[in-house]
């Protein structure tokens, strides 16, 4: 036992020395502008997950992995122009140079981590039905008509597959309060207004749960 303990302690000391050396190098590079983009990307991933899979904090951080570059770019601009209201992302986005903003938007397209999942499983079948067929009797279109049969999105229309359950539910529930704010007529969020109006809370929850497991 004692010998094992000592070994562990020695390994820990070496590990620590190594970690310190790495940290020191990292710090020096932080000031070098050539590494500015990598540092910014790491910053995004601290909140949005190391592979862009999203993160469940007190506020849900949405999945960006596999997201359409045009959608990401449009949303970042919407945060900056306050068409889309979110204090956290306003702060994040308004310091980005146009070139960095465009490059970041491209980056997440090719990431493909497993979805986090986690939506309640009891109404998934209803979610699937609404996604594929809509609810004609309540004027809800099939989501797949725009978001694609596999919910991968297209250009300004976002991917929904694998999105975090609490995030999708929040997005649908507070649509008009968070998006298309300030009366801008050209805002892409207007397309979703009738859809979100006609869904009940239970139906939103069912769709969000279904999407949370979709690869």
């Amino acid at each position: 036992m004692k010998i094992v303990g000592l070994r562990l302690a020695t390994t820990a000391v070496f590990a620590l020395a190594f970690a310190l050396a790495v940290k020191a190098a990292d710090r020096d590079e932080g000031g070098d502008s050539a590494h500015g983009f990598q540092a910014k990307l790491e910053y995004c991933k601290t909140c949005h997950g190391l592979s862009g899979e999203g993160y469940r904090g007190y506020f849900p951080m949405p999945r960006l992995a596999g997201q359409q570059p045009k959608y990401i770019e449009n949303q970042l601009r919407a945060f900056i122009e306050r068409r889309r209201v979110n204090p956290v992302m306003f702060n994040v986005a308004h310091v980005l140079s146009p070139a960095t903003l465009a490059a970041l938007s491209e980056h997440f397209r090719n990431l493909n981590p497993e979805p986090i999942g986690g939506g309640p499983r009891d109404h998934i079948a209803l979610g699937k039905t609404i996604f594929e067929q809509g609810l004609p009797e309540s004027n809800v279109p099939a989501c797949s008509a725009c978001h694609g049969p596999e919910a991968k999105g297209h250009e300004e229309i976002p991917r929904l597959a694998g999105q975090l359950f609490p995030y999708t539910l929040k997005a649908l529930s507070y649509w008009g309060k968070e998006r298309g704010v300030g009366g801008s007529r050209d805002d892409t969020s207007a397309i979703m207004v009738p859809t979100t109006h006609n869904l009940t809370h239970e139906q939103m929850s069912a769709i969000a749960a279904y999407l949370s497991y979709m690869k």
């Binding site: 940290k23 910053y43 601290t46 909140c47 904090g57 007190y58 956290v88 310091v95």
Partner: protein, 199 residues
């Protein structure tokens, strides 16, 4: 900062923890913990407040002491022994018990730095890639599931935790090592000060 000074006393406590068949006991041996963490678990010298902490975080922490993934010097010295014999079930029992105790704020930071600390906590420092803390730890630093409550914890403890990530300790605590890396000494001081006053 005061340390737990009497080595023999501490050793005796650790021995007591190791020796007692924790998992077999029906009621939890709470005194084994409150010896160090203070009688109502509000924290005492280097042992932090655990009263009112989220139960998921307490449970995760106990398991990380047991597996030695949390290897901060004080963890190694005091908690590795205290957690060595905990079964998963006992760890959960302690976690629920302490999470339900009322917590009072330490109020021991530098008041002059509190507003600066709050601004970092809420907004981050986007230009230098410092993330805002509010997104994970919550508007009142109340924590969320496995993410710990920070509001009202002792200034010295919070400061030490943030500094020790930059010294390479507890590297497994994703995402905190990469967050702490971006913080300057002044920012750590301001954050620890602000948080010590949050109720």
């Amino acid at each position: 900062m005061k340390r737990i000074t009497s080595k023999p006393a501490v050793l005796a406590i650790i021995m007591a923890c190791v020796a007692s068949p924790l998992s077999a006991q029906e009621s939890l041996p709470i005194r084994n913990c409150t010896w160090c963490h203070g009688s109502s678990a509000q924290g005492y010298t280097s042992a932090p407040r655990i009263a009112g902490q989220t139960h998921r975080y307490i449970e995760n922490s106990l398991l990380s002491f047991k597996s030695h993934a949390r290897d901060n010097p004080a963890s190694k010295q005091y908690m590795w022994g205290a957690a060595a014999n905990l079964s998963g079930e006992t760890a959960r029992g302690f976690a629920v018990y302490f999470s339900e105790l009322p917590a009072s704020p330490a109020n021991d930071g530098d008041e002059a730095l509190a507003s600066e600390g709050k601004s970092i906590y809420v907004e981050g420092r986007p230009a230098s890639n410092v993330v805002s803390c509010i997104v994970c730890h919550g508007p009142n630093a109340e924590g969320f599931e496995g993410i710990p409550r920070l509001g009202g914890m002792g200034h010295d403890y919070l400061k030490r935790r943030l500094e020790q990530w930059n010294e390479g300790y507890h590297a497994a605590a994703e995402p905190m090592p990469r967050i702490a890396k971006r913080l300057s000494a002044n920012e750590i001081e301001a954050l620890a000060s602000y948080l010590s006053f949050v109720r």
